[in-house]
């Protein structure tokens, strides 16, 4: 149907979160997305070579863009920073430096391609998960495979607070700007200092209020909620696994 609309294009992190909550595959079972994302990662690790890497990257990028309707431009933007590091790393295979200067190393080309193909594919796998699955769903999944309850609850509250604090900081920043707090570098520095100094007590106050709010709903030390159950399509899971097996096989044959 329609593609995802990004409403508050502030920081990339916030957009990633919005997409994770609003993409077309938001309501597919976690296990299906894990199979796609982590499955791809497994394939890349299991079958070295740039062919496998390329196939996995293409498959997951296509899934993200056509399936989950992640805007292609945004996907590229998210990928470009890690990709930059990968390319820089690969350059070390292609050139060597000695007393006579910089030399091109022909034998390093294959290694460089393999490195780029594999690392980029691994990045795509992780980004695919991050863009299609909210952090809280991932936490929920980890909880099911044995993450202790307390750790999961702290992570959940931290996640919630991160957004509140980010919002508070953004509002304070806007309020300072509205009263000309940022016109000179000196004032900007002062304002930043005040902002940071104010965030901590506010976060504490927030936490205190949150405790009152939770207690009012009979909180007994455990944050239990009723998650909406998403039916797992085992057909899709099987199709994904079969797809990855094909990629593994193709990678082996074509290498």
């Amino acid at each position: 149907m329609s593609s995802v609309v990004v409403t508050k294009p502030s920081a990339a992190m916030l957009i990633i979160d919005q997409l994770a909550h609003g993409n077309a595959w938001r309501h597919h079972a976690l296990i299906e997305k894990i199979c796609l994302g982590l499955g791809g990662l497994g394939v890349v690790i299991g079958q070295p070579g740039w062919v496998t890497g390329t196939l996995v990257s293409c498959a997951l990028m296509a899934a993200a863009v056509w399936g989950a309707r992640i805007p292609f431009g945004f996907l590229l933007r998210v990928l470009c920073i890690p990709a930059g590091f990968v390319v820089l790393g690969a350059l070390t295979f292609l050139f060597s430096v000695d007393a006579n200067g910089i030399h091109f190393v022909a034998s390093g080309v294959a290694a460089a391609f393999t490195l780029i193909g594999r690392s980029f594919a691994a990045t795509v796998c992780v980004c695919f998960l991050a863009l299609t699955t909210p952090a809280t769903d991932l936490l929920c999944g980890m909880r099911r495979v044995g993450l202790p309850r307390d750790v999961a609850e702290i992570a959940l509250l931290t996640y919630r607070f991160l957004f509140q604090i980010a919002e508070t900081a953004a509002t304070m920043h806007a309020a300072q700007a509205a009263r000309l707090g940022h016109v000179t570098p000196m004032r900007r520095l002062r304002c930043l200092g005040m902002l940071v100094a104010n965030l901590l007590p506010r976060a504490f106050e927030r936490a205190r209020h949150m405790e009152i709010g939770l207690a009012a709903r009979n909180w007994n030390g455990e944050l239990r909620v009723q998650a909406s159950a998403v039916p797992v399509s085992w057909w899709r899971v099987a199709a994904i696994v079969w797809g990855w097996i094909c990629v593994l096989w193709a990678g082996r044959v074509m290498q």
């Binding site: 979160d17 919005q18 909550h21 609003g22 938001r26 309501h27 909210p134 809280t136 769903d137 959940l156 509250l157 996640y159 919630r160 957004f163 509140q164 919002e167 927030r206 209020h209 949150m210 009152i212 709010g213 939770l214 207690a215 009012a216 709903r217 009979n218 909180w219 007994n220 944050l223 239990r224 909620v225 009723q226 998650a227 909406s228």
Partner: protein
Amino acid sequence: MGLDLCTVGGKGDAVSMIVAEALHYAYPGGGDALAGLSLTVKRGRRLAILGPNGAGKTTLLLHLNGSLRPAQGRVLLDGVEAAYSRTALAAWRRRVGLVLQDADDQLFASSVAEDVSFGPLNLELPPDQVRDRVDAALHAMGISALAEKAPHMLSFGQKKRVAIAGALAMQPEVLLLDEPTAGLDYLGTRQLLEALGALAETTLVFTTHDAGLALAFADEVALFAQGRVIAQGDAQTVLSDANAMKQASLEVPFVARLAARLQGLGLPAQHLRTEEDVLAVLAAHPLAVDQISVSGAV
């Protein structure tokens, strides 16, 4: 466990459900937030609390569900002095729900439906019933479509509705709401009042700065100033009391002033609460319009 709190009526005054007696409270490092405040919440009625900023309205609500403990004075539930042990507090909050002024202080879960399910699950209800309660509460607040959204992606008014749904889903006997309509749009306010109006059995206590809303919706009004109640009684009587209203830095609502005028003209205007009521009287007595304008500005 906590059965003493759950018996309905029982000994003591059957009408007064929660009684605050001469409460004193000061925040650490602050002056008196409550200075000998006394107030009665009657069963099945709607009590509006009005007063200027800093008068102690929020502080009182936090006392009425045991979130704060008075330095002096006491809170009675059905005539029994409230205790502050863990079990007593749990039983207290089972009966008395609270919605905070800032919804962000209350929402923690990763989706709206999950957040609303938190209270019912703490009541140890079976999963089916929890689901029904969540659906009903979301429907009542007109936010069924937001069920799967993350709280941090909602607008201020939407979060407010989620917070109220979270309390509604617990179906408490008494619901304390701190400025429930502040920040809601016209439709949101109407929906909220409708949803609250449908809770015939539930005792409501809400704070507001909107005297007109209090007149239209509340049975009773308590006026606060400087940590004390300066008047409590029937909504129309208290809100028409120009002296008391002035003490609480409030204005007599337009409808109340108009009603007083109409009554002065000998018209049946004792029970006018909304603009619609006034229009109905004026429609029945067209001549009154001229008389009102002759007798000066309202």
